[in-house]
């Protein structure tokens, strides 16, 4: 029953209580106009879930690679006092390999034309 447990329970309870308060106090009169999706006054044209640009997928993949790099660097940051020279050189090799990969990606143009459509 420590304070973290109380906090952990209290936060969702407050959130659900606020939502319940809203549902209790608010009226609910749905009609046709309110329930359609918002398209600046027009009736919705074509389906809402369409294909989206490949750029977002590319950003996701890049984030994955670099975030895993950061994650693998975290143990090195706290253990610099107990890894001697060999640990440091392994860390540096890791960073240099990733930097070479980043240089290749930068110069190949994968980061440059993000969101710049060449046809439109």
């Amino acid at each position: 029953m420590n304070s973290f447990l109380f906090y952990f329970i209290l936060v969702p309870v407050i959130v659900i209580a606020l939502l319940g308060l809203n549902l209790f106090f608010a009226q609910s009169k749905p009609n046709e106009e309110k329930l359609t999706t918002f398209e600046c006054g027009f009736s919705p044209v074509e389906q809402a879930r369409q294909k989206f640009s490949i750029h977002f997928y590319l950003v996701g993949i890049l984030f994955l690679v670099f975030d895993l790099e950061v994650l693998l660097l975290f143990p090195a940051a706290v253990s610099m006092n107990s890894i001697s020279q060999s640990g440091f050189w392994i860390l540096l090799f890791f960073l240099i390999v990733l930097t070479v990969g980043f240089i290749y990606e930068y110069s190949s143009g994968a980061l440059n034309y993000t969101n710049k459509d060449k046809e439109s």
């Binding site: 029953m1 906090y7 879930r49």
Partner: protein, 326 residues
């Protein structure tokens, strides 16, 4: 397990979460009044004395608004998304120390937990855009998520650079090790990049294209009406306050008062003062700069900031190892 210690624990949880929600509400009022002053007008001043009860008036108004669940949406995800954002935004506050040992949860892996929880908040944005069956919401949420995860990388790398000096993930240790000198002095360029990264993390001007009103009709928050909208609003301003606190912990010495050795009131006030300073910077930057276009935003992270941060992340371990200053 006495009843006294249970009441103590409950009180500890309440004295963190009560003023926290109040401070998030007052940041909204502060922002409106400060931006008004910067634009040669006064902000809201009708509701309380000097407009100080404006946030509560807004919350009460939104309390009695109708909760519209549009017809083609995924109703459960629609209501769940803002709750995920708000819960994750509030859960990280257990790790912030207000004095030496004055934390709710003194994890030895504090910083990693903070990164983890603030990355889960991105789920709320994705689900919000997907569940509201709206083209604008969807594109807005994709852009917001792409921006958020791009700046997560720089965020994580800069935190890593600070950890190289500290040697521990524990937040109290990070602050205690700044007794020699605050980390903004040796890491000044990195502190500037951190300030830019946290502006982008919280979808805040000049990086607020995902929620810009004129282009994407409020972005991923288009279909949200009453309290779910309040949740998103609270989550955004909560992220602003939390990131200000985090940057004052990492760079400005946290709760340390230079020259005075105390615990409790002085340290809490010191942390609040530094957080308020960075909050003022947030609002000042919002009032001063125009919005960045989306491809300028993306290229400024991947092409301009990330090479510098990777260069620093090769430099700092070399310095730490060469001069044995771990």
């Amino acid at each position: 397990m006495t009843i006294n210690s249970t009441i103590n624990s409950l009180l500890e949880a309440l004295i963190v979460i009560g003023p926290l929600l109040g401070s998030i509400a007052y940041v909204t009022i502060a922002e409106r009044k400060i931006m008004g002053s910067m634009q040669r007008r006064i902000g809201p001043n009708k509701v309380g004395y000097y407009g100080l009860l404006q946030a509560f008036a807004d919350a009460l108004k939104l309390l009695v608004k109708e909760l519209v669940l549009p017809s083609n949406t995924d109703k459960i995800l629609f209501v769940l998304a803002p709750m995920i954002s708000l819960v994750c935004g509030l859960l990280v506050w257990t790790l912030i120390p207000y004095g030496k040992g004055l934390v709710i949860a003194d994890f030895s892996l504090g910083i990693v937990t903070i990164l983890a929880i603030s990355s889960v908040a991105a789920y709320g944005i994705i689900l919000a855009g997907w569940a509201s069956n709206n083209k604008y919401s969807f594109i807005g949420s994709l852009r917001a998520t792409a921006q958020l995860i791009s700046y997560e990388v720089v965020f994580g790398l800069i935190i890593l650079l600070v950890i190289f000096f500290v040697g521990s993930f524990n937040l109290t240790t990070i602050i205690e090790s700044q007794k020699a000198i605050w980390y903004i002095v040796p890491l000044f360029p990195i502190a500037l990049m951190f300030l830019i990264a946290i502006l982008a993390e919280s979808n805040r001007a000049p990086f607020d294209l995902p929620e810009s009103e004129s282009e994407l009709t409020a972005g991923f928050m288009t279909e949200y009406s009453a309290f779910p909208f309040v949740f998103f609003f609270l989550a955004e301003y909560g992220a602003i306050v939390f990131l200000s606190t985090l940057s004052s912990i990492l760079f400005l010495g946290g709760y340390l008062v230079p020259g005075i050795e105390s615990n409790g009131l002085m340290t809490g006030l010191s942390l609040g003062f530094k957080t308020s300073f960075i909050l003022f910077l947030f609002i000042w930057i919002r009032a001063s700069f125009p919005r960045l276009r989306y491809d300028q935003l993306m290229s400024s992270i991947w092409s301009k900031m990330l090479p510098i941060v990777i260069a620093f992340s090769i430099l700092i371990p070399c310095i730490v190892k060469a001069f044995e200053i771990y």
